[in-house]
Point group: C2
Chain length 346, copies 2
């Protein structure tokens, strides 16, 4: 079905557009009362992830409620380790926990990977197909995955961490084993994302949430090659890479076969542009906490951000929207972007 609003895709392909498209990371989630109502009736987070018609429902909620220019499939980056043979639990208010973690060569050898692992995630592809049907071409649908380094971190650490020192220890102490594990994750991620595209995803975003805890050398050595394999393998749709905290790797990221680079709020649009060069599209980067301010202040800060980025920009926050963000702030952000027009369009 043809898209009625394809602004995101035209922007990601580098076309001349009238204004930036806007969506929010984690827009399908706790900021919306309809999400909280549905979530309250379920046994847990994973039921929502694993049930295609529920995932489709919450994916579309922000399109209805906020009028954003894109939907992003409701899912979790941790479905990948689970499909590889490392199941996880989502502990309420604490986050994910893996009863088993990767510690040895034997653990890595035992993992399922590539197409075999991707086969376990039929419920995600079903959710995408269902969402595409129900969206009826209103906006593009974004599919996503965690970047291999971030998935590696969880598989070794077993849970969130301030330092991810176990995961980083493996990189330093067992670089070859680390590469083997990263390769298996990358193979799986490629198979998974290709299936997502086949199911109808219009753009792919790769989230490297823990990029910022690596040194520039380690990020270049371990993370960038995986990202490049993924970016090169996804040919049919645009790819966005968001390496949170990895300002130091922007020059490397700019060399990937991707179309868009996501930015957190720690970097000015000007500095990001100078590091990335003129070709790629930039996505971001309002501080999510800015939306706690009064709507008037949100409008002002959003306009300032739009002017600082100029063209080749997808408006978003610099991180997922925080669950307690007032909807007034979110609306002020979305509406300000949508009212914006680039100056030199006739």
């Amino acid at each position: 079905m043809e898209l009625k609003n394809d602004l995101l895709l035209r922007t990601a392909r580098g076309e001349q557009v009238e204004r930036p498209p806007v969506w929010l990371m984690r827009q399908a989630g706790r900021i919306l009362p309809q999400y909280r109502a549905l979530r309250g009736r379920l046994s847990g987070f994973k039921e929502l992830v694993e049930t295609p018609d529920l995932a489709a429902e919450v994916t579309i909620q922000p399109v209805d409620e906020l009028g954003v220019d894109a939907a992003i499939i409701f899912s979790d980056i941790l479905v990948i380790p689970e499909a590889m043979g490392l199941p996880y639990e989502m502990v309420e208010k604490k986050g994910p926990r893996f009863p088993d973690v990767i510690q040895s060569k034997t653990d890595v050898a035992r993992l399922i990977s590539g197409e075999d692992a991707a086969d376990a995630l039929i419920y995600v592809y079903d959710a995408i197909e269902l969402t595409k049907r129900e969206l009826q071409g209103r906006v593009p649908l974004i599919g996503f995955a965690g970047a291999p380094w971030t998935i590696f971190s969880y598989m070794v650490e077993g849970q969130g961490s301030k330092t991810f020192s176990k995961a980083k220890k493996m990189l330093y102490a067992e670089p070859e084993l680390s590469r083997e594990l990263l390769d298996k994750i990358t193979d799986t991620t490629i198979a998974y994302l290709q299936r997502k595209v086949a199911a109808g995803a219009d753009l792919i975003q790769v989230f490297d949430s823990w990029a910022g805890i690596l040194s520039p050398d380690q990020y270049r050595s371990f993370a960038i090659p995986c990202l490049q394999r993924i970016a090169a393998a996804i040919e049919a749709v645009p790819v966005t890479v968001f390496s949170k905290g990895a300002w130091f790797a922007l020059e490397d990221l700019a060399g990937l076969d991707c179309q868009t680079i996501g930015l957190d709020w720690n970097i000015t649009p000007k500095e990001a542009r100078s590091r990335v060069g003129d070709d790629l599209v930039l996505q971001g980067n309002l501080d999510p906490c800015q939306l706690y301010a009064s709507p008037e202040q949100v409008v002002k800060a959003t306009r300032q951000m739009l002017n600082a980025f100029g063209r080749r920009h997808i408006a978003n926050l610099g991180h997922g929207v925080y669950p307690d963000t007032p909807l007034d702030g979110v609306r002020a952000f979305v509406n300000t972007v949508q009212a914006h027009r680039y100056p030199d369009i006739g």
Copy 2:
């Protein structure tokens, strides 16, 4: 008493030295068996902080065991909010918790500040005096405080946080109240640090642990003015400012009346130097996880770091040493720095 090893101070003052001095953030702590033994006999962390002869004992342990070029007084940045009227508990394996937090103008008005608050921390000044006596001039003693923004974060948030969104919300939603609170913290920190210097601290380090969660604009607007007031107020000894994660503020930090800038491991020495300019001394910045590697690899990485920094450098990690770091790795780091000689010294 005259210092037998004043390498740290000569370096911080910008003098020509034969090699970089070396110490580790959190060197007085769980990496040392003698610390763990002493700590195991105590009721809790705060007993150690509040008992001068115990604090002095653990402060000197790494000088004895590792031969580092400086001692840093064993204490906690959170003694400041406590002295201001906001007591905290240190919850084992979880971190600090404040039963009361700052939410309103009334809460801010009620706080003790400046000299009155600093008067409550006699046990810290006593610990410094005692440590100085017991060190007998072997190495300089570093005194420290949290930066006002980091202390503010804890006082508003009440505990550690991944996002510190409550603290940041206050900056966005109530900027005037935020400045009032930051000013009170700054007044207290200045009084406290001046008392530390009077008690014998040879160098002051200010830790802005949560610098990296602010945007460049917010850091410039809220955090830098407090740091400047502190740096300007400490005249008798050199001052190091370590704003973790605030690579984007290095140009601003370079404008402070301080002598040394601390760096985390996310930035290359070359980029840091180009942002800071030639005058200031840089401190850091080996990834603490590097010490998990084999001693041979630690030696190699340390040499690489020393060569990348060149002169005007105090060798350290880019963050506090992690508690489970093998002592072999720590020793390889310290010994490699101490064996280093700058090439052009006759």
